[in-house]
């Protein structure tokens, strides 16, 4: 069974069989605008929650993606090296950033589910 969770920083985390795929939401990509560069983390790197995991740059500015949970990077979406715009086109699908293995799978429970996130975004407008 897979489950999806959302952070207040507008990342989504899709948990499936112990592996978590991380990306940013449609709301986040719309706010950022066209992405032109993405620096992905190194595979096999252990990163603590809150530490920098990736850097994303729009035409105007750079911002960082912080590690939403503590874990080890298992896979990165290398397509984004050449096609950062994939994040704008398909943020919830082909525009995923990386997959990680969590140290404590329980960490996911603190995040918002689909409906809680929808309400959270609605409040921001």
């Amino acid at each position: 069974m897979s489950k999806i969770r959302y952070t207040q920083e507008h990342e989504w985390l899709l948990e499936d069989d112990g592996l978590v795929t991380v990306g940013i939401t449609g709301f986040a990509q719309a706010q950022l605008g066209d992405l032109v560069y993405i620096q992905l983390p190194e595979i096999a790197k252990a990163i603590a929650k809150g530490q920098e995991a990736a850097i994303i740059e729009s035409v105007k500015a750079a911002s960082e993606i912080k590690m939403p949970v503590t874990g080890v990077i298992i896979e990165v979406n290398t397509i984004l090296n050449d096609e950062p715009g994939k994040v704008n086109e398909d943020p919830m699908g082909a525009g995923w950033f990386f997959k990680l293995k969590m140290n404590d799978p329980g960490e996911l429970d603190s995040f918002m589910d689909e409906s809680a996130y929808a309400a959270f975004v609605k409040d921001m407008d």
Partner: protein, 380 residues
């Protein structure tokens, strides 16, 4: 993601241009810029807006810029005391790029000057306009009349199809070439237009009374080639065209020579010319023209995909700091990062390999020719 990205709430005291309602209606994302609330982008997005301007025609609201009229017989002679540029012999219905310099040879602002026959028409930067007008009043009052035209908006129509669009609406504009100016009737009202802009493309800037600005913008947007373009793409377009942004690529601490703007210094105002000197900082600027400068502005191309931005240090092969980036972004036409910055003169040869410090990582960059694109001004 950092919270700050979402904190683009605009504060209350910002001014609005006459096109504010239109920007909101067309879904602009508004940001504070030079005390105005201005459109950063529209739903099309910066990359597509940039490409649209390079391939068709983009309409920009630049009403935040200052428009000033100088009248009086001595206006040209008077203005020459503040700029290293030939104003006296500027032909009627012609425009010229100029710079206000200070006593140290630094740049107070850059501006466009056109000769309207019985007056001079100046366009100055939004962020500098109050200071520029005060400066003009301080130095030129008594020699000419200085009027801020705050009752007028300014639109820019830029791109390879701008000429065709303007010719459809005002056929007499077809014979204008780059840096020509004219007074034409659009939406039933007198507009001052120049065939110039800030994108490297053919195009026009149109000064229109505030009351008719929205009607004119809607008329232009009704033309199939035209889309509204925000300040985000305006910045990437001017950067690809190698054009300076005041406050970034030049300021009071850079001289026109250091800024690689020697071309803007008219021959008649240089040493040996008929009206040599006679503007603030002339001795310093003449000295630099004769014996060179220690650093100057150059174009920079990154040999990596990572954008190199304003403020990044420039390093030589031994990791000595030899300069600083003053503008940098992604160039949508080039499909890669483009930048400009100031570099010590020993490292300014085209093709010199340097590094930029981006978040602690040395990104290879190369000193490159500007403009980064082919300019497409209409020269007849």
């Amino acid at each position: 993601m950092k919270e700050t990205i979402y904190m683009n709430t605009v504060t209350e005291h910002l001014a609005h241009t006459p096109l504010y309602k239109l920007h909101m209606e067309l879904g602009a994302r508004m940001v504070p810029f030079a005390d105005y609330e201005m459109p950063l982008q529209y739903p099309m997005g910066i990359l597509k807006e940039h490409i649209h301007t390079r391939s068709k025609a983009g309409l920009f609201d630049v009403s935040h810029m200052g428009q000033v009229r100088l009248t009086g017989e001595n206006a040209a002679v008077a203005l020459e005391t503040l700029v290293p540029v030939d104003i006296v012999d500027l032909d009627i219905n012609r425009q010229r790029y100029a710079l206000f310099t200070n006593e140290q040879g630094g740049i107070l602002d850059d501006l466009m000057v056109s000769n309207g026959g019985d007056h001079l028409f100046l366009v100055v930067n939004a962020a500098c306009k109050q200071q520029d007008i005060a400066y003009l009043r301080q130095h030129l009052s008594g020699q000419c009349t200085i009027e801020e035209l705050s009752d007028r908006a300014l639109l820019a129509l830029q791109g390879p199809e701008a000429g065709a669009v303007m010719a459809r609406l005002a056929p007499e504009t077809a014979k204008m070439i780059f840096m020509d100016t004219a007074t034409v009737t659009l939406v039933g009202v007198e507009c001052f237009i120049s065939r110039s802009g800030y994108t490297g493309e053919d195009g026009f800037e149109i000064s229109v009374p505030n009351e008719q600005a929205e009607a004119l913008a809607r008329l232009l947007l009704a033309q199939p080639e035209v889309a509204l373009i925000g300040l985000g793409a305006r910045d990437s377009l001017r950067l690809e065209a190698g054009l300076c942004l005041y406050g970034h690529d030049m300021d009071t601490h850079t001289t026109p020579i250091e800024a690689s703007l020697s071309w803007a210094l008219s021959k008649v105002r240089r040493a040996g010319g008929g009206r040599a000197g006679g503007y603030p900082g002339a001795d310093i600027i003449q000295g630099q023209l004769a014996s060179g400068v220690e650093r100057k502005r150059v174009g920079l191309l990154a040999k990596d995909r990572v954008p190199v931005r304003d403020g990044a240090q420039i390093l030589d092969a031994h990791e000595n700091v030899v300069g600083q980036v003053t503008s940098g972004s992604f160039g949508p036409t080039l499909g890669g990062p483009v930048a400009m910055g100031y570099v010590e003169i020993a490292h300014t040869q085209l093709g010199t390999l340097l590094h930029a410090n981006v978040r602690g990582k040395a990104v290879p960059i190369e000193v490159a020719k500007t403009p980064f694109i082919t300019l497409r001004y209409y020269r007849g």
